[in-house]
């Protein structure tokens, strides 16, 4: 005995999807008399073959009586189709609460995005969708995305005009301010920060430039011309996606610095097994990948006294040496003292670009 309800969730899902698609298909075609099957299939995200199967199924559905005048009817003209009788399914089904929320919240996000173009159209669309969805649109979701609208709007303008840019950019990974010519491709908003994605002629690769680190920019007369090998970043999992080839840094972290585990992608976070301090002041072992040991050194020194480098040993030594050298400078000199001896600059400089961002929020 076949019991459809006991089929796998996947099959049940497919069946529900198909029903939703069929109920939608009649009004879709009704609104577009004579549409080509290939165009409709592409628009609806199905294959042409699937669309034909859907039409065949609809053809045998209709009003009770199920005679020739009761069934859904359509006329074909070559590859074009026209619904000639809809049997009462002349409108799509109303939005579900989830659908209404998905659209309303996304429009609110667009409207809130700093420097967004066509804000007026977004707000008009939002009002109309909210109106159509009735009380469903009363989504209990509020969005606020503060940001530098002027900066973002300027970047977006440069992208839309298709011009190359000369930018002064602060690269946090290396702690240096650089001049570059870039070919802009798009502006992204990820994790509350705006980025310019562009081909960097200096690095000869695609880069994501954080908008708030672009200290100056000049639009050039020449057009943006990213080379064919320019490939967009996949930002679906965030801007910084730790590569397994990057150095792994392990830190022992006290309570007041544990916030770093929320701001940086960590490979491992666990209570330090060697810590016998009990409930108070328990330390965690935190492992994270870094693009640059020089950045890691500044990061660890900046975190404060309850963070210790466990690995790699060369980072621990660099941190200690830099802290000791800085202390010496204070010990040897009065506040307005003479020049200091130069200290060696250490740290393996690896790839630049988008390293872990410095936290901007409160903690």
């Amino acid at each position: 005995m076949t019991r459809p309800a006991q089929r796998s969730g996947g099959a049940a899902r497919t069946s529900a999807d198909r029903l939703a698609r069929l109920l939608n298909l009649v009004p879709y075609l009704l609104a577009r008399p004579g549409i080509e099957l290939s165009e409709a299939a592409a628009d609806l995200g199905v294959t042409e073959r699937q669309l034909r199967e859907d039409l065949e199924l609809l053809w045998v559905c209709g009003l009770p009586g199920y005679g020739p005048g009761d069934l859904i009817d359509m006329a074909f003209d070559g590859d074009r189709v026209t619904i000639t009788y809809d049997a009462g399914i002349d409108r799509p089904l109303r939005l579900t609460p989830d659908e209404a929320m998905a659209l309303v919240v996304a429009l609110r996000m667009l409207a809130e995005t700093p420097g967004m173009a066509n804000r007026d159209a977004i707000e008009r669309a939002l009002a109309k969708i909210e109106n159509a969805a009735g009380e469903l649109a009363d989504a209990p979701v509020a969005v606020r995305m503060p940001g530098d609208s002027d900066r973002v709007a300027a970047l977006r303008g440069a992208v839309q005009r298709g011009r190359a840019l000369r930018i002064t950019y602060y690269a946090a990974t290396r702690d240096e301010t650089t001049e570059r010519t870039v070919d802009p491709i798009r502006v992204l908003m990820v994790g509350g920060l705006a980025y310019l994605e562009a081909w960097c002629r200096r690095a000869e690769s695609m880069r994501l430039f954080r908008a708030d680190r672009i200290d100056a920019m000049v639009e050039l007369d020449e057009p943006a011309a990213p080379p064919p090998q320019a490939r967009l970043h996949d930002v679906s999992a965030g801007i910084f996606r730790p590569d397994q080839d990057l150095p792994l840094v392990t830190l022992r972290v006290g309570r007041s610095s544990r916030w770093i585990t929320e701001y940086y992608p960590c490979e491992r976070v666990e209570p330090d097994p060697g810590d016998a301090a009990g409930d108070t002041g328990r330390e965690w072992l935190v492992a994270l990948r870094v693009t640059d040991l020089g950045w890691a050194r500044r990061f660890v020194l900046g975190l404060g006294p309850d963070v210790t480098v466990v690995a790699p040993p060369e980072l621990a030594e660099q941190v200690r040496d830099r802290a000791a050298a800085a202390l010496d400078a204070y010990a040897n000199l009065p506040p307005d003292g003479a020049p200091e001896p130069g200290a060696p600059r250490s740290g393996a400089e690896l790839v630049g670009g988008a390293g872990p961002a410095t936290p901007t929020g409160s903690h």
Binding site: P4, S15, R18, A20, R21, N24, P27, A31, I89, R91, P92, L93, R94, L95, T96, P97, E99, M101, A102, L103, A106, L107, M109, L110, T113, A117, N118, I122, K128, I129, N131, P140, V141, A142, V143, R144, Q160, Y170, A172, V187, L188, V190, S236, S256, E262, P271, L301, G302, L303, G304, P305, T308, R320, A323, A324, A326, L327, A329, Y330, S362
Partner: protein, 333 residues
């Protein structure tokens, strides 16, 4: 098999849309193809009832507003119908630029939880005659992600149901169990929060969704269990904790030439001298400025004020001591 079922369901929807009278299960069975059975055979009848229950459940899940009622006061048996006015999406006259905005909005969810709902919602707008240009852009692409607790919490807020979850903050050692009447969910600076009345604290609280252990939200009690305060401003509950920082302090530091680019960017003044560059930096909190300065090691030395200078020296001492111990432990062990 699946084709037969889909066909039956389409016919059921058409049948119930076309009737103004409530139709009983028996009347539906006698009308809609696919429900044929012998009502006098108990096993056959029971199979029909199960099938019909499943079909009703599927329609309701899809959002079809199935009305239940009786055709007349003399009928004991409940009947069913679908009111076209309740079923149909109202007309949404979107201008081309508005339709483009909706299309772009629907794409925001492509990496996140509501992708499915966004695309089926968009498909309904298309079916209502709205043409959405899939290539349209606004020159800017927001990438949205949501935490696993987003869907259950928004649903609970919509239904006004009390929830419980385990909540872990980084500076706590163990999660605490919280009970909340959720008023709504807030996205503030790209992080998600739920705002509501905390039943254990008996006060308004907000919680970061990423700190809810496993994204697991348990429902307590029935829908409609509470009413959020009238005109509640959800954002204000989250945003007041991270207002703008007043940087009224001024610190002077000596930076080696060509170093500490990150500090130079926000210096109010830079004066070059033989021993390096003097930078005047605005700050709000001496300790957090000290952390930032220590990051630059010997490239930066604080000249003034003493509170910053002392904080830096104290940090340097502790960092050196901690890492000296480590080095000692390594050589001895």
């Amino acid at each position: 098999m699946s084709r037969t079922r889909t066909e039956r369901l389409v016919n059921l929807v058409i049948c119930l849309l076309s009737t103004r009278r409530f139709l009983t299960a028996a009347q539906i069975a006698a009308t809609v193809p696919g429900y044929e059975h012998d009502p006098d055979d108990p096993r056959d009848h029971e199979a029909f009832q199960r099938k019909f229950e499943r079909d009703k459940a599927e329609l309701r899940e899809l959002g079809v507003p199935l009305e239940t009622g009786t055709a007349s006061a003399f009928d004991a048996e409940p009947g069913y119908r679908i009111a076209h006015r309740e079923y149909a999406l109202p007309d949404i006259p979107l201008e081309p630029d508005e339709a483009a905005a909706v299309g772009i909005a629907a794409r925001l969810w492509r990496h996140a939880g509501l992708a499915q709902a966004a695309s089926s919602g968009l498909a309904k707008l298309r079916a209502a005659g709205v043409d959405v240009d899939p290539q349209a852009t606004l020159g800017m692409e927001p990438v949205v992600t949501v935490d696993p607790a987003f869907a259950p919490l928004t649903a609970a807020a919509r239904d006004r149901r009390t929830v419980a979850f385990d909540y872990r903050v980084p500076d706590g050692d163990a999660p605490t169990s919280r009970r909340l009447q959720p008023w709504g969910v807030v996205c503030w600076r790209a992080r998600w929060y739920v705002v509501g009345h905390d039943l254990d604290r008996d006060a308004a609280r907000c919680f970061r969704l990423s700190r809810i252990v496993g994204g697991a939200v348990r429902l307590l009690g029935k829908p409609g269990a509470f009413t959020p305060p009238v005109g509640v401003d959800l954002i204000s509950h989250v945003a007041r904790f991270s207002g703008p920082v007043e940087r009224s302090g001024r610190a002077t530091v000596l930076a080696r030439s060509g170093r500490a680019a990150g500090l130079r960017r926000w210096a109010h003044e830079v004066t070059s001298g033989p021993d390096g560059d003097r930078l005047v930096l605005p700050y709000a909190d001496a300790e957090s400025l000290a952390g930032r300065l220590v990051g630059y090691g010997p490239d930066v030395r604080v000249l003034d004020p003493p509170e910053v200078r002392d904080a830096v020296i104290q940090r340097l001492k502790e960092i050196t001591a901690r890492h000296d111990e480590l080095a000692a432990a390594r050589t001895s062990g």
